[in-house]
Structure formats: C-alpha cells, structure tokens
C-alpha cells in the first residue's frame, strides 16, 4: 500500500458564470510539494471544485491543511478544517468538526491521517461554520479505488467496487452544487446574510454552469474552475458516473434517452448483507445534499445526449435558459 502525502491550502478566489458575472468564493488549492517560500503565492487561488483526492483502498494518506488566509478579506480570520464526508470508522481528531476536535487558524498547518478501508465515491469539505464555508465553495471530490484493480487477473481494468459487475470503461464526476450569489457578494463586502433566506440563482456541475460545463478541463477562461463536465466515449462503452451533491437542495438528474444502472449509494455497493444484488435501473438519479450515487450508463448510438436537472428551473443562469445544471455526452461511432 502506498503512503500518499498531500498538502492543501485554504484560501479565497473568484469564479465566473456564463452570464459574465464574477463571484467571490472560499476554497482549497493543491500546494503539494510547493516549496515553503512559494506557498504564499497561492493565496487567492482557491478552485471550485477543490482538488480531487484520489486514493486506493488501504493507502495511508497524510493530508496537511495550511490556512493561507483570505487576501480579499484579510479581516476574516476564520479557521478551517477538512471533513472527509462518509469516512467510516474515523477517530474524531481527523473528523474536521471544530466543535469536537480542532481547526486550523490562518498561517498554521495541521496534518490529517486517513486509512480508507472501503472503496467508493466520497466528498470532502470544510466543517467550520459549514453553512457558510460549504456554500462559499470549500468542497471537493474524493474517490477511493478498489483493490481488485491491483489483482494481476484484472490488470488494466477499472471497477467501482471489489466486484466484477461494477466494471466500467470511463468515468466522470458529476458533482452538483448551487450558488445563491447574494451571500457571496455580501461576504466579499463584509456584510452578513440570513442563511434561512437561501435561494440560489445558479446551479453547477463540477463548479461550472452550462454551457461552460462542456468546455475542456483547465480552460484558461476559467482559471479557478478547472473541471469539465463534458463526457465523450464510444457506442457500447460503460461510463461510471460518480454523483456527489454538496449543495443544499435535492437534485434529480436525467439524461435524454439513457437509463442509469445504480450500483452504489453513499460509497457502498448495492448489495444485501448476504451478497444479494440490489442494483437498480433508474431514469433519474435523485440525490440529496451529502449523498453520493454511483451509476453506470452504457453509451447508445452515436450522437449527442443532454444530462440535465429535471427541476427544469435549474437549467438556467440567473433565470436565463439554457444554462445551469446541464452538460453534454458525445457518443462517437466505434
């Protein structure tokens, strides 16, 4: 098993929406192996989503969190944490709940330790004043890969869980969030917001709203939104969609003409206690805040297919269609 050392910085930044608006965020950035005297240059470079944390079952992970502070809000000296959401059997010190463990003040470091024993799709987020810090963008995807991929009999093949029925050819993260632009604006301007008035105008996949979702990863026009949600593959290929919801609303996701085989919920393969197959076919994946869903789609005939939110008002950018929580799947002929 590998020993993985990572270092993330907590800081602030700005994101773009397709309607030309710019919004203040909090977030994380990857500063692994950055020399100490250059770490400071990452202030203000938070990304939405936060960096993907990707490990194998049984790895040992040392994750250092460095609080870089908020250059846009130097007065705001909030502490931060990392909470590995859904991590089974965690001791509370690394659980990231400041009320029940510790948090990291500006300019300080803390090293979290994890030994994941279960494969699946998870997420991580800051748990300090979580209503504010999650909405502001301190959220990231986390994948634990199954050991079966290291079995010589299965070299080069990909599986969601330790079960050959969960094999796939390609994978995509469908990480859904919403944004109410008002608190983002108010926080940037040292004002308070009543969170019970939360009412978003933007809906995102992987930190972007459509049509930006279909643009490539690391597109220079979105320096703080490195993830794409565009999916491409060949007819008959199996694509594993890893749904994560770290918004505050329930979302029902559909794809025009492609059903889902749901094989995992909340990082657990859908199997009964005695191995019963509990996988299910769905035409919509309904996912609540804090849930994850693993679903496999088999790519049909060549063509374009739209992945969209069945709460149709969420396929808009500040009220204007088409936008929001949508992306495209391009199926190519073999």
């Amino acid at each position: 098993m590998a020993v993985i050392k990572k270092r993330y910085g907590a800081t602030d930044g700005w994101i773009n929406m397709p309607d030309g608006t710019v919004h203040y965020i909090f977030g994380f950035c990857d500063i692994t192996d950055v020399p100490e005297n250059e770490v400071f240059s990452y202030r203000g470079k938070a990304t939405l989503l936060a960096p993907l944390l990707e490990v194998y079952e049984g790895d040992e992970i040392y994750l250092t969190l460095t609080n870089l502070g908020f250059p846009q809000r130097p007065d705001l000296d909030d502490t931060h944490t990392i909470h590995w959401h859904g991590f089974p059997n965690q001791i509370s010190l690394w659980d990231g709940v400041p009320e029940a463990s510790i948090s990291v003040p500006v300019g300080r470091n803390f090293e979290y330790y994890y030994e994941p024993l279960d494969p699946g799709t998870y997420m991580y987020h800051c748990h300090f004043e979580p209503v504010e810090h999650i909405q502001m963008g301190m959220v990231g995807p986390l994948i634990v890969r199954p050991l079966i991929e290291k079995d010589p009999d299965y070299t080069g093949r990909k599986f969601a869980y330790n079960d050959i029925s969960t094999e796939y050819d390609r994978e995509a993260i469908i990480f859904v969030t919403e944004m109410d632009a008002r608190p983002h604006h108010l926080v940037a301007n040292v004002q308070v917001f009543d969170w019970t008035d939360y009412c978003p105008q933007y809906w995102m996949i992987n930190g972007r709203a459509y049509p930006d979702t279909v643009k490539p990863p690391n597109d220079p026009s979105f320096p703080s939104q490195p993830y794409s949600a565009y999916i491409e593959g060949f007819t008959d290929e199996k694509v594993l969609l890893r749904f994560v919801n770290l918004g505050f609303e329930n979302h029902s996701i559909q794809i025009t003409g492609i059903p889902f085989k749901v094989i995992g919920l909340d990082a657990k393969q859908l199997k009964g206690l005695n191995g019963e197959d509990l996988s299910q076919w769905r035409n919509a994946v309904y996912v609540a805040p804090g849930q994850t869903v693993d679903a496999i789609i088999t790519l049909p005939d060549a063509g374009k297919y739209i992945l969209y939110n069945r709460s149709l008002q969420r396929n808009t950018n500040n009220g204007i269609p088409s936008g929001g929580m949508m992306t495209e799947i391009n199926v190519l002929e073999v």
């Binding site: 089974p88 010190l93 463990s101 030994e115 969170w195 909340d266 019963e276």
Partner: protein
C-alpha cells in the same frame, strides 16, 4: 390492554437564541404542560391499545395513526369528518375546549410510526401536534431479546434512540396567536428541530428543567461496537438529509416495514439518509473505529495547541487527546465539555441552512453521536420507555 391518555394543549417552546414560540402539543397529563414532540407511545405487537384524547384547544383536534390499521372509535372504524361540505379532519376528533375521543387499535406489525393530528393537519401538525410510536415485536424482551423486528430478523440492538424532525416558521405560530390568516403555501421555516429542540439544546439531557415543554434530548450515546438502533421520524413537511459522522448506518426498515423479502436481505448502508415528510427509518449504527485503544498504532502528532483552533467561542467537546478514553491538555480559557475522553461525531442535516437558528450557525437540526469508552455508560442510557400513564 395499553391505555394512553393524551391532552391537546397550547404552550411555549424555547429556542437557543432566546425566542419563546407559541405552539400546540400533546401532553401526558391533565396538569402537565404541552410538549414537543408529544410523549412517545411504546406498545407491543398484538396488544390492544386505547388512546384517550382530551382537547383543551380552541378547535377540533384528533390523533391520526398513519401505518396502523383497523383504528376504531367506539364500534366504528375512524372516518373522515366534514364541516359544511369541507373536509376538516382525516379521522374522528375531539371537539374544541374540552371534548374527548377514544381510539382503539391493535398494532399488527412492529416498527416505528408517527402519530399526529389529522385535523387541519397542514396547520396543527406544523404547530406541534405530533409524536412517535414504537411497536415492539411480540417476542421482545428488554433483557434477553432486544430486537426491532423480532428474533431472526437481524435487527438486534444494544441501545436505541428516537429522533423526530420538524420545522418551525415562527410567523405561522404568531398568526395563530393573533387569529390572523396564514398561507401554508408560503411556509418559510427559520428553525429546524430534533425532538422539538434546536441545537445546541438537542445535546442537553432529557427533562432539562429549563426546557419544560421540550423534555427529550437527541444526543446518541454508545460504546464502541455496540449496535445502536436509531429511529428517525419525519414529522414536518420538508425532507431532510441526515448525515452521521463516524460511520454509515444500516437501514433495516422504512415506514415500519422490515427491508427483507423472505430470505432476501434488502437492508443497505448509507452515510446520508433523506427523511421525507411522514417517513420513518429504522437504522443500526455501529462505531468500530480505528484506534480506539490507548496503544493504537495510528501516527498522531498534535502540534502546539496554541497553534490550533480549539472549539468555538471558548468551548469544545474535545478531550484534548486523539485517543478514546484519554484526556489531554486543553488551552487555558477553553472550556471542555468532554467527560472521559469520549469521541463526539456530529449528526446533522446536510442541507446546511437547516443547522442554523434563524441563519446563525450552530443551531437547528444537529446533535452529536457520543462514543464513550467501553464500560462507562450505564445500561439505562439509550433505553426507550413509556413516559405516559400507560395502564
């Protein structure tokens, strides 16, 4: 025969930010205050139950029992009630200002259920007229056979907790006091409750004297490897994604129905359970955490405590040590509510605005699962018992 006596009354509940909110609730005695939620009703499968309701409120009130069959008033099955051609109640009711009604039924299946007013329910249930029912399996024995659904159903437990969720829009409650109209379609909650309390009051003990109308805590306490049965009830009109830290829960039943088809086990594990309005979930949580012994092998270096954020506004629930059952140094000026080096794992709605009290974190639908060192907890922690005058 179990006889449960309930009174419908008005009262005031407290929120941690200092509000006092008018509500309607069931009480367990003629001289007892209205309470939120109503007293849990704990009965046995196959045992006849009578619920006597006395209504001290200014409009008709009932006890509606979703999930129970064959409920009768007198010799007749309960039936919808109309006034001037309008449906005003799902079931027979007690008239306003002193009316009474008696319901009888025999629970045929074990599980977790809700009871609530079926009269103007869009108003009365939101005002607080709800509570939980636990039906024990026929072969249940507190000492020898603690199961949720009977022996042989893989539902054994060591301790159990009932957590009932709801929402509060203070403007509805104010409108009722003032006799003003209220549009339920404009419902906009500002508080979210577990067992009638908002965090951090959820973590206070049962029967805390300063919460006379909210007698039930929502803290889950257990020891490592114990099987903890957590019974969720969604008593409001919104759905809530409830997320326990520390481990998944295994959902064994929904709506009082065991998740099993013959020999096929349909239970499943989740780290976030979406509890819809009127739904119930029975689930087993087990904490088998890495490193709960003092000599555990997990590499841990805690930096200088002065370099860390500890707790919130001078308090913490942390022991100062990474290890279970061990206490460490807490910086001066920080109060630790940790008893014996136990771990605290948050259990909360992941729709995060709902863990605020009118927008201020921490609050709302949030509590802790507390894992104590083996042998610390007394056996009567996490034992549900009938609080009402059951005859």
């Amino acid at each position: 025969m179990a006889v449960i006596n309930l009174w419908a009354k008005q009262g005031y509940m407290s929120t941690p930010d200092g509000q006092s909110i008018y509500f309607w609730g069931y009480s367990k005695g003629a001289a007892e205050p209205a309470q939120l939620p109503g007293p849990p009703i704990i009965v046995k499968q196959g045992e006849a139950v009578t619920i006597n309701l006395t209504n001290n409120l200014p409009e008709p009130v009932s006890v509606f029992l979703p999930g129970q069959t064959g409920v009768k008033v007198g010799s007749q099955f309960v039936k919808p009630q109309y006034s001037g051609g309008n449906l005003i109640s799902f079931v027979n009711y007690a008239s306003s200002n002193g009316g009474t009604v008696s319901y009888t039924f025999t629970p045929t299946r074990p599980g977790t259920y809700i009871y609530e007013s079926g009269t103007n329910p869009h108003k009365q249930v939101l005002l607080g007229l709800y509570g939980g029912i636990v039906v024990r399996p026929e072969d249940y024995d507190e000492n020898t056979s603690r199961t949720a659904y009977g022996s042989g159903t893989d539902t054994e437990f060591d301790r159990e907790y009932l957590i009932i969720f709801s929402e509060i829009d203070p403007s509805l409650h104010q409108a009722v006091i003032e006799g003003k109209p209220y549009m339920i379609s404009k419902h906009h909650p500002r508080y979210w409750t577990m067992n009638g309390r908002c965090a951090p009051d959820t973590m206070l003990p049962d029967n805390a004297p300063y919460l006379p109308s909210q007698p039930y805590g929502a803290m889950v306490m257990a020891e490592p490897t114990e099987k903890v049965l957590i019974r969720y009830i969604g008593a409001g009109i919104d759905s809530h994604p409830l997320h326990p830290h520390g481990n998944h829960t295994r959902i064994i039943a929904m709506d009082g129905r065991l998740l099993k088809n013959g020999a096929r086990d349909r239970s499943f594990k989740r780290f976030t359970v979406l509890v819809g309005p009127g739904q119930t979930y029975d689930q087993i949580f087990q904490w088998t955490g890495l490193g709960y012994t003092l000599d555990n092998p997990i590499p841990t270096i805690i930096p200088n405590r002065r370099n860390l954020g500890i707790g919130e506004a001078g308090w913490t629930m942390w022991s100062g040590s990474p290890y279970l059952g061990e206490k460490g140094e807490i910086p001066e000026g920080v109060v630790s509510f940790n008893e014996v080096g136990e771990y605290h794992f948050m259990l909360h709605s992941h729709s995060e605005p709902k863990i605020t009290n009118w927008g201020a974190f921490p609050g709302g639908m949030m509590t802790m699962i507390s894992i104590y060192p083996t042998g610390f907890l007394s056996p009567d922690v996490g034992v549900l018992s009938q609080p009402v005058g059951k005859e």
